[in-house]
Point group: C2
Chain length 221, copies 2
């Protein structure tokens, strides 16, 4: 049976990516990161989702003590959503960007994939309804794949798959619902309080997605 | 004053890379990794070298529990050195290769560099007197630089420098001696016992380097 390493954050994109990987017949191994994120309740969500699918998972604790992000530093305020178009237009990345986060995640996934002889890495990156983070864009994944090819022993035997990269949030939600993703277990809000704040980018895109998909978000009572 | 992040393993290459960075006027921040390596005494060496230069440093503990390398798994024997030419000829990477290690190290360095606004990352990778690891070759660094450019906010503001990549071990040792690298503090042997084993690749290249440089290795009494 073919194997995949799936990067699982606990958000709805990565949960959907996991269900896509499973639907394609991959035996999935999930990597979950505790990187000091403010919204650490997403870690619990990720664990619950992995358990729901009966996939093995591992929590990796990493230390980004240099911070440089409002997700890592409670002294920096998380901005209210500036609405998507703005990020593209002004090409300014909001302070919720975590320096090199996806590069770090992918590099661990690559190490794991190489060691367990997985054929694929799944990451739920999305470059449509997103905050303009550079490490969510297709050109980054193309470049990283080149680094993988030249910098690992497995090289081209491992593929990095980004099945959601060109989908809208509504399309992701529809795909997830079709595949049975337990969206009630997912978590998106950057503030990570008991309830979603409804104001941060992550809440904004989630609400927009459910609205455009004509579906109800099970997290919103 | 311009800043650099330096990846410091405790071996002679990375120590020399640190001294090169300092000689070029960089204020250096050293990253040292505890990745479960069998020769963990190199971690002590790295700390001592950083302390000697009075550079700030940070030890990062990372969990590569999936292993896939004799450096991470004591059940796999570390091979005797097969002599350099062989690796090139047969294009077989020895089992001391750690899956995606340098990609992981670089990704942390990138995150740190971006957060502290460093202009450069120094890594002592070498593709001349080496074991044929894919993540030590120039083509990998070129590819990774592209991933950095497209996948981070800082992009081209950070340069990844590999000042030793095309030097022989003898040239590295001569450069190091000129810059005052305390080679007596460095550690190379993969076995990590009290004394260098003299048999592993790392010992082989070190001995060859000192011999060709016409110098004495201060670790060998």
């Amino acid at each position: 049976m073919k194997r995949a390493v799936v990067l699982l954050s606990g958000g709805l994109d990565s949960a959907t990516a996991l269900y896509i990987a499973k639907s394609k017949g991959y035996r999935c191994f999930c990597l979950i990161f505790d990187y000091g994120q403010r919204h650490r309740r997403e870690i619990q969500s990720a664990k619950h989702i992995a358990q729901k699918t009966a996939c093995p998972w591992q929590l990796l604790k990493i230390n980004l003590s240099w911070r440089g992000s409002s997700l890592l530093d409670k002294n920096i305020e998380i901005p209210k959503s500036a609405r998507p178009g703005l990020y593209k237009a002004r090409s300014k990345v909001p302070n919720t960007y975590v320096p090199a986060r996806n590069i770090i995640f992918l590099s661990f996934a690559l190490s794991c994939a190489e060691a367990i002889k997985a054929e694929a890495i799944f990451i739920g990156a999305n470059a449509v309804d997103f905050s303009g983070y550079p490490d969510c864009r297709p050109q980054f994944y193309r470049a990283f794949a080149q680094a993988k090819d030249s910098g690992t022993n497995a090289g081209r035997k491992i593929r990095i798959l980004t099945p959601l990269i060109k989908k809208s949030k509504a399309e992701i939600i529809k795909t997830g619902l079709r595949l049975g993703v337990p969206f009630e277990l997912t978590w998106s809000c950057y503030r990570g309080a008991r309830r979603p704040c409804g104001k941060c980018d992550s809440c904004y895109f989630r609400a927009k997605g459910f609205s455009e998909a004509g579906e109800r978000d099970p997290l919103i009572k």
